[in-house]
Symmetry: C2
Subunit: 148 residues, 2 copies
DNA sequence: CGGTATCCGAATGGATACTG
DNA sequence: CAGTATCCATTCGGATACCG
């Protein structure tokens, strides 16, 4: 049981315009600040949290791949969703698409520098899930038992 | 342009059963390992990436709140989605629900220790988005221009 | 090979009305 | 106050067929 935080103190959720500032652990913020912060973060969370994006990024982190190569490596993905996922990642600048105008055509997909840098915070989140997977699983079991 | 990684070397995406091991930067993994790793991480990514979960967690990080208090603080959320979001977070052990059997009834929601600990990696991801928001925005503009 | 187009069922999420 | 129940529009995502 934590005591309620005493008071807000202003500042945005990630205020400094220059990086490398730890941000004085923003436990308390004005609701408007929380909203503006999450409005930026949530859409990307939703993108990499969708059914296939993380899988594609992880497979591509080993190096560039062709379209059907990805399709084979990512078990169960449909052609439609692979196309959609790659287009979204490309639009956000996380993946680059290179067309070789040969016959038959060849298209290479590769993580950009931005795409590679994303793996760092995502892996931190992955580590958190891994460390707490048992506690989460136990909580779910207990919850599902309670509601008969 | 990063060179493709030379060779795979085995190990799961987050292999150690005990924590605190940095994991020798897994750039290359067998597809099966990537799949097993993402199968664990992606569902939680999808949970906190949904429309309201992060907002609820952020508001609750300042301390416990009552149901209608949350509804007022989180602009635009419907009663239905607030209930659903809180139930999901509770099921995963990120939020606790305390009922005071008074009249009128009172229900307090509060982040658990697990919920608080989640904020650390999520804020790291938020920092990444914040630092790269301009590059992402530029990439989207360029992409949308290209396709007329 | 690397897609696009179409159809369709399932899941997401808002609006509204009702309840203990 | 703190929900539940219902209806409905939109989106997600798989299956299939076709195309340059």
């Amino acid at each position: 049981m934590l005591p309620p935080a005493p008071a807000a103190q202003g500042g945005t959720i990630l205020s400094p315009s220059h990086s490398d500032v730890p941000a004085p652990d923003s436990a308390d913020l004005a609701p408007a600040d929380i909203h503006s912060g999450c409005k930026i973060v949530t859409p990307l969370l939703a993108r990499i949290g969708d059914k296939w994006s993380m899988l594609v990024v992880m497979v591509l982190s080993a190096g560039p791949r062709r379209f059907n190569e990805l399709k084979r490596l990512i078990d169960g993905i449909s052609q439609r969703m692979l196309t959609h996922t790659l287009r979204s990642l490309e639009r956000d600048g996380l993946v680059s698409r290179t067309v070789f105008p040969t016959i038959p055509p060849r298209v290479d997909y590769e993580l950009t520098a931005l795409g590679h840098s994303l793996r760092v915070p995502v892996k931190a989140l992955g580590a958190w899930v891994f460390e707490n997977r048992d506690e989460i699983a136990r909580s779910r079991l207990a919850f599902d038992d309670r509601e008969d």
